[in-house]
Amino acid sequence: MSAPSAAVSAHGHDDHDVSKFQIYVQIAMLLAVITGVEIAIVYVPFAKWLIITILFVLSAVKFLFVIFYFMHLRWDKPFCTILFFIGLVIAGGTMWGLLALFSAENSLPLPT
């Protein structure tokens, strides 16, 4: 991932920045479109699990686009990505663990 960065400094500023501007705008459009799709899909009469899966995939795509482009992880040293993903993975794992623990039968709240 450091290859593009080398290229960046080698080329002059201008053409690169023009392209970056375009990239940003395109991504913003893409994100907006995905959001629209997400909102729409909720009302589509598909199977629940399918919609949930689609929603998760779409959100993940948005997520990745933002961190890799807007937050330029794509152009930065990979260490930044690693650093962030340490947090992301541990937080995600903990969330998963908590949800799993609370979904177990033993953890259901007392019926009232």
Binding site: S5, Y24, T35, E38, K62, F63, F70, M71
Partner: protein, 282 residues
């Protein structure tokens, strides 16, 4: 600002002064964001756990949430992220003017988002009868989205400070008071426009016809519109050129790490939007 740095073009992806080449501030921000994942992880877990095991007789989120408003504010936040990204590119090119405009738009979008959120909370409390303390849904929802809102608010404050800083002149005997006043006027503008946005959203939501709504809005918010305009005038006056500015390409890293924070707030919202709002409408 060192003599070498200023003359050479700055490579924004490599800082030769650090061991790894990643600027300290950027690394700090990424480490903080890793930590922030855990903050929101804990909050979202809490919310989801109680959504998976809702207490009997609790509120039904379907009845409470309004997808239109949320979709709108989601969209706004996405656009603010775009503007933030552009602000970073601008300062990396040393384009101060473009930077300032991008910052202001980002601030503006952030404020609209906050306005929507304040409005949403008001609406939920007064019309949907969901309060912090009358249901678990209220407790977890307000705490989660409120924490996110605080992040946005801190981001806005930071943006404001950065905007003001971009006017810092190299030397002047009165620059401290000048800066303070500048910051204050900007904050006044912000508060006024927050209030005005709120009024606008409210008017539109309440009144079916747009024209009438606008009339109502103008009447109700006249004072704040006036204050906002006045302060904006002052702002422009403060922003007049006053000699060489001590804010340049070398400060790109400050803007960039602020940008990272802002984008992170955005991706947290992406998650919240899906798991807190959308999933409820299945």
């Amino acid at each position: 600002m060192s003599s070498h740095a200023a003359t050479a073009t700055i490579d924004h992806h490599h800082d030769p002064s650090t061991t790894t080449g990643i600027p300290n501030k950027k690394l700090l921000m990424w480490a903080f964001l890793a930590s922030d994942c855990m903050f929101f992880g804990a909050l979202i877990s809490t919310h989801l756990i109680y959504r998976l095991h809702p207490p009997a007789g609790g509120l039904d989120p379907k009845q409470v949430f309004s997808p239109e408003l949320t979709s709108f504010s989601t969209f706004i936040l996405l656009m603010s992220s775009l503007m933030m990204a552009l602000a970073v590119t601008a300062i990396q090119k040393g384009n101060l003017k473009s930077l300032r405009w991008s910052l202001l738009t980002t601030i503006f979008f952030g404020l609209i988002f906050l306005g929507c959120q304040v409005y949403e909370f008001q609406h939920f409390v007064h019309d949907k009868k969901m309060t912090l303390s009358n249901s678990l849904l209220g407790s977890t929802f307000y705490t989660l989205t409120g924490t996110h809102g605080c992040h946005v608010a801190i981001g806005v404050l930071w943006l404001v400070l950065m905007y003001v800083r971009s006017f810092k002149v190299a030397s002047s005997s009165s620059w401290l008071s000048h800066q303070l006043l500048h910051a204050i006027t900007l904050i006044v503008v912000l508060l006024a426009s927050l209030k005005v946005t709120l009024g606008l959203v409210h008017a539109i939501q309440v009144e079916p016809s747009l024209g009438v709504a606008f009339g109502h809005f103008l009447k109700a918010e006249f004072l704040f519109i006036a204050i906002g305009l006045l302060a904006t005038g002052a702002l422009v006056w403060f922003a007049r050129p006053r000699g060489p500015v001590q804010f340049s390409e070398a400060n790109a890293i400050d803007v960039e790490s602020m940008g990272l924070y802002w984008h992170f707030v955005d991706i947290v919202w992406i998650v919240i939007f899906t798991v807190v709002y959308l999933l409820e409408f299945l």
